[in-house]
Amino acid sequence: MLQIALWKRLVIWFLCIGGLLLALPNAFYSRVESFNDAKLTSETAEGWPSFLPSSLVNLGLDLRGGAHLLAEVQVADVYEQRMAALWPEVRDLLRNERAKVGTIRLQKGEPNELKIKLSKPEAINDAVKLVETLAKPVSSIGSVGKLDLEVIGENSDLIVRLSEAERRATDDRTMQQALEIIRRRIDEVGTREPTIQRQGTERILIQVPGIGSASELKQLIGTTAQLTFQPVIAARVNSDSIAGSGEELLPSLENPSEFYLLDAGAVVTGEELVDAQPSFDQNGRPAVNFRFNPSGARKFGDYTAENIGNPFAIVLDNEVISAPTIQSHIPGGSGIITGSFTIEESTELAVLLRAGALPAGLLFLEERTIGPELGADSIRAGKIACVVAFGAVLIFMAASYGLFGLFANVALLLNVGLIFGLLSGIGATLTLPGIAGIVLTIGMAVDANVLIFERIREELVSAKGPARAIELGYEKAMSAILDANVTTFIAAVILFVMGSGPVRGFSITLGLGIITSVFTAIFVTRLLVVMWFERRRPKTIEV
């Protein structure tokens, strides 16, 4: 009767002490935080003993302040760029076979396809076969043997678009690239613990604590910082010039009423840049030096060799930064962008170019800014509420169950310690609803103990002696405790899976609270009761 093996006792104490040690750093939050920061930058960090755990509970944005963005990557943008880049190749291929397919003309069609009209409709099948030779195998796992292009002949129209498999592969690449670029841009500013996560197939969640506002964050990420080098068809035209197919009309950065008519197919894009540095041109004005990778350098070199004397445009975010005339063949793949920049602008542009261009535009679906004062207010209010809730429950339990109530109170204190320990251990984030979850747990954690104590009371009535009553109390209350907590746990798991942000934070504390409260009720209080019973051997007990 009422025996707990020594090894079990040791395990229980070990778990409790381990959990409390994990929780300990949170009691000295700012000290440990500066210690951790110091450790990142140098080896010699002081202020916290290095043998103790130093991981902290992350504070959510609603407690610390910062910005939250949910962005949808416009993956279809990439299809359009691919098609625009493919057009010259298709055009040259079909022109060489003019005798067979006749003359060709690019039609206005869907932006993600090329629609080409042939003057000899009867040759459509030959044309399809010709263009199909341009298709390459899709380079991704799971689509082995599939081609990247889909070529269809419809009467006299030849339609070229990306195949389904290639689109999926492209989407994936676009997302990875976008994630990487966003991460690098945010890292350049060096903020603490940003969250940059892919959500679903096309979305990215960005949370940066400590940043002033969501618009600041958006500026940092740059909605579409796309750099391209495009051939100029006509410079300095006005806004009502009409762009033909395969052409586009873009404004000048310096003078928005001035427009350029450009070939939509870029010679080189910012993706092929390897470096960009702020510098000065020969007149001492701020400028940006850049260098291409080998393939970019080759394309740039070939183009400049063939087009000496022609202007070409440097386009950033659909605005023409400058349109210099090519003076000579530029073989080395490096060049300089000049414009009327200030020093800050040229530095910023260099950073943007270095971090690389986002492969596609971002559409912001959700944005939240939480000021640090509001977070601090919430923490303060949460702390006070926790302390008061704690006090009230402790007093109430002691008044209702006497000594046993005190045992339950020890378990309750331990319980909250363990929740914090687990939260820091798994690196979870504490949010405002999370604090509410802890307070709720304080109320509900006593439930398992109450079930047991009430049961012991009942068993005492049947007068089988205190030891037996305690044993039966634990035994018989078990199924109710189990069923009751499993059902609540189910709700917590569903919240975790379906919820996001603060709601998820709540589900984590609720779920952990259920685990720790069951642990403390069936193991810790039981151990306390048994230890007390062994020392005192009371003939009667009052619960």
């Binding site: 609603d62 969501a214 679906l365 207010d377 209010a381 006070i384 009230a392 307070v439 709720l440 942000g501």
Partner: protein, 319 residues
Amino acid sequence: MRLKLVPKNTSWDFFSRSKLWIGISIVLVVLSLLSFFIQSLNFGIDFRGGTSIRTESSEPIDVADYRSALSSLDLGDITISEVFDPNFADDQNVAMIRIQAQPGQEAATSTLVENSLQKLREVSEDIKFVSVESVGPKVSGELIKTAIIAVILAISAVLFYIWIRFEWQFAVGAISALIHDVILTIGIFSALQIKFDLAIIAAILTIVGYSLNDTVVVFDRVRENLRKFKKRSLVEVMNLSINETMSRTVMTSVTTLLALISLFILGGDVIRGFVFAMIWGVVVGTYSSIFIASAILLWTGVKRDWSKPNAEAGTQVPQ
């Protein structure tokens, strides 16, 4: 002397008036549904899309001034309300401004926020925006869908769990109580037009968990007593079980309410709605596990002898 909220041995009859309780519950459910269909819920931006701005200023707030300042921006539907909280300092005047989703836009543009700040500065010089949240219609639509799925999933999962652990009659009783609690919670949010956002869904799911917790404890005792007292009628056994667990039910509700009420008063206005939902849920959940879940279990009846195979199965005549 021990504090005892419930006398030691109670033998209250919970079923003599069960028709009355069920009647009251039905009326409340109907009222909740009526309120929901007539005036709907005061959906927050999470579910409706739009922008919600929390402002703070040292000057007293005049809602009408704020409104006229913003009206020139032509932003469509704007709701402005002052927020009061005992935690605020004397010169801390807080207001919530909600602006409808702008046509053709997802999340709010920076210009919208910038312009609003400028206009409001004309009314109140030191006004600042302590939080700005903006949700596009695309996401808010999905959030509603996910929230409804989450609640349905949670209810079905526990239905399944109780069905396995008990008998189907218990599951029916527990789920009726649960749906009752969820409807009444939505009802009070609709009736009082309290802001209904994502956090409230979390609260509802917690209520689901809590209400079940209570119901399960009573049912567990019913199951045990059904095995123990094979001769007594079902009403007697159920009355006995509820009386036996009464003390625990009250103790747990009181401790939980103590914690929640301190959070309600002291926890700040940001989570007050959330905590209110939970307090309401605890009260309604406790009531429903005694008066609704048990009454329904009594009506559906329950198989008494758990050790023998199903009696009906034995009487079937082979074809």
